[in-house]
Symmetry: none
Subunit: 413 residues, 2 copies
């Protein structure tokens, strides 16, 4: 399978807040024609570093794409550096120069002298015309490497890539495609997921398997390549089916849907409605459910019963229950779920109460203790959790577990 | 000036949609202590490529930080690769192993065998304790390089960097200091903020001024360097005072506090309490208020009145009001704020109703129309907004505006 590296050039890309969106675009485009991106580099406008980066990439990888550094100013160094590394002296390309002059003339402007720099190309480089800007792209090919220089402005880069690069790269990569699938799981730590599936996926080099953990979630990514999409998809399906089988109901999505979207789809499919009474999550369960466009079809009401008084007044938790067992208990969670369900007349009611921290923990109920209940038409499920981590993580994991319990209940409808 | 490179490890970072937020965080932190980032690399989980990347970075640059690839699975290769490149064989660190065992034991789980891998360290590496997760960071230092291995999950990376790396790196970077200050503003678009303050900040090259816009918020960042912290701080204070003066009450924080934290501080200072009745924000206002540790001191109750029925039943909005003017109106917002305030007996009540989209807009009330009311002891403020952007952005900007109205009301107490 053909591989590529992307080198983004520009000191501004090394500041804290810049985002290299070009490399995301290129990765997607390259993957779609069966070329895998194996490394990405961001280099500033310093010749020495960029030289290092280009040389390293050419040593490792057949296709090297640079973005940026093709402008008309002193600190646009990509042409010069690539010329040095490939040992192709810069020469003036008359066609490019005339094109630049015409471009400025058509706007009634004399071409600034600086722009002539954009007509310098490494000997033997093939210009890639840029209808959207002044800097043409460049295509340099020898026995071992294809080096492609693209301008940094996204609109220019995209138009050159689509018109000039994609067709040539398709011819190079031959009939190969890369397809991806993700299995999103919840309820198991990353190491446990891996213990389950490593014996399966390690039998395959194609598809490649990668695990990615977030709080309350482990995503299993598969990437398969094949001569045709059908061939690659078949490989994905074979391994995918085995992984899904092994992980069972822990898998909540086989695409990039979030848990709240999956729950929303179930609610619509089962014609069910939902209401929530939550304490330690402070509105997060309701907020996640209502992130989904169209959630008014199934979500009616959320109660954030943060104070004990509001648990009593709003949901009708018996005051004695809160006084005796404390607000964090199985009984309060069940009562929250059943009361909000009854009060709002929904198919499902959710109750969450716990200790999110950092304060408020005790020996009995340390920070991270969370009780979650989900009430349905026939019965109420309850689970107690002890979540690790910060307040934010405890709250997030609680919301994830609550939504997952709803998903599992709906699956039985 | 000391320089650093960042190498992000993980095949998922080479897929089209991933974002390497860790490198942004690290760049910001490194800049703040006078260390410049000169190159960034993203490498997959392939030993050969990562070896190339680590070797290249160590050749070029004194400080090399890797993120990710320290997990317990087969494809977590950072430890192994760094051990190869630095020629420091992997050895089992008993302290780390025992820490891992304790961590699992405290959650009542037997440690999966795989996790023992996380106790392997290159000979002579200094473990950096990770209170937020299982993988410790590692610090390897020889004559020419400092190589720092950090785990990929952002919360873990941040906690290790702040506790362990920042103090050590400050000692290495020596007496040149870079200090930063941020003025967080809300209620003005980025271009308006810039129009106001560009005539001021453009008179200074030190501090450097950068504007950063997020939905509902524009942050003005100042960075000053000096021989001593006092010298740099004096430079910051001079420009900072002029900027704050110009932007007035739009500035809600002069540090990295979020709006909900600022509102929380005001509520405590003014001994006030708050409750919320929200519709289009779906719980986001309550969720943000309760993100703050200790928010139970002032937050009592949130009502997410998503359906019209729940607006009527729960808050007592007159049914005629919803039928006549629709649920998105000044009257409903005011009624939500005043009713929840009265019902819950809090100092302040907040009401939010609007059209978050993508559907539900009309010519009269296009997507982004949001009415917000804040009821206090003496009066109720109302504002109507038309927020641009996606559902997520409309909801976020609504929550920001609601919290800002609370902040401004509390300032008059």
């Amino acid at each position: 399978m053909l591989t590529a590296e992307i080198i983004a050039v520009g000191s501004e890309l090394l500041t804290p807040r810049s985002r290299d969106t070009n490399s995301h675009y290129l990765t997607e485009e390259l993957n779609a024609i069966g070329i895998r991106v194996v490394m990405k580099t961001v280099a500033g406008d310093t010749e020495e570093y960029l030289e290092h980066a280009v040389r390293g990439a050419m040593d490792r990888t057949p296709v090297v794409i640079t973005t940026g550094g093709l402008g008309p100013t002193e600190d646009d160094i990509t042409r010069k550096v690539v010329s040095t590394v490939t040992r192709r002296p810069l020469v003036l390309d008359d066609d490019i120069l005339n094109g630049l002059k015409r471009r400025f003339a058509s706007r009634g402007i004399d071409m600034p002298v600086n722009n002539a720099r954009q007509a310098l190309v490494p000997t033997g480089a093939d210009p890639l015309s840029n209808p959207a800007g002044t800097a043409p792209g460049l295509w340099i090919e020898d026995e071992s490497n294809t080096v492609i220089l693209l301008p940094g402005p996204p609109a220019e880069l995209k138009s050159i890539f689509e018109r000039e690069c994609r067709p040539r790269l398709i011819r190079k990569s031959g009939p190969a495609v890369l397809v991806r699938r993700v299995y999103r799981t919840t309820g198991l730590p990353e190491s446990t997921v891996d213990q389950h599936i490593a014996p399966i996926y390690s039998q395959y080099t194609n598809p490649e398997t990668t695990l990615l953990a977030r709080p309350g979630q482990v995503d299993v990514h598969l990437a398969a390549h094949g001569k045709t999409e059908a061939e690659a998809e078949a490989l994905l399906s074979e391994l995918g089916a085995r992984i899904e089988d092994e992980l069972g109901e822990h898998v909540f999505a086989t695409d990039l849907r979030e848990m709240e979207e999956v729950v929303g789809l179930y609610l619509i499919m089962k014609r069910a409605t939902i209401s929530v009474a939550e304490s330690c999550t402070g509105g997060l369960v309701a907020e996640r459910l209502t992130r989904v466009p169209g959630s008014s079809r199934y979500f009616t009401t959320g109660l954030v019963t943060y104070s004990n008084a509001s648990k009593v007044d709003l949901v009708g938790i018996p005051p004695l229950l809160v006084q005796m067992g404390g607000a964090v208990s199985r009984e309060v969670a069940v009562n929250l779920a059943e009361s909000v369900r009854r009060r709002e007349g929904t198919t499902i009611g959710v109750g969450v109460t716990g200790v999110a921290g950092p304060d408020g923990g005790s020996e009995d109920k340390p920070v991270g203790t969370v009780h979650i209940a989900v009430a349905g038409p026939d019965s109420t499920e309850h689970r107690e959790f002890l979540f690790p981590g910060s307040r934010e993580r405890v709250r997030w994991q609680s919301s994830q577990a609550a939504l997952d319990m709803v998903r599992r209940l709906l699956a039985t409808f």
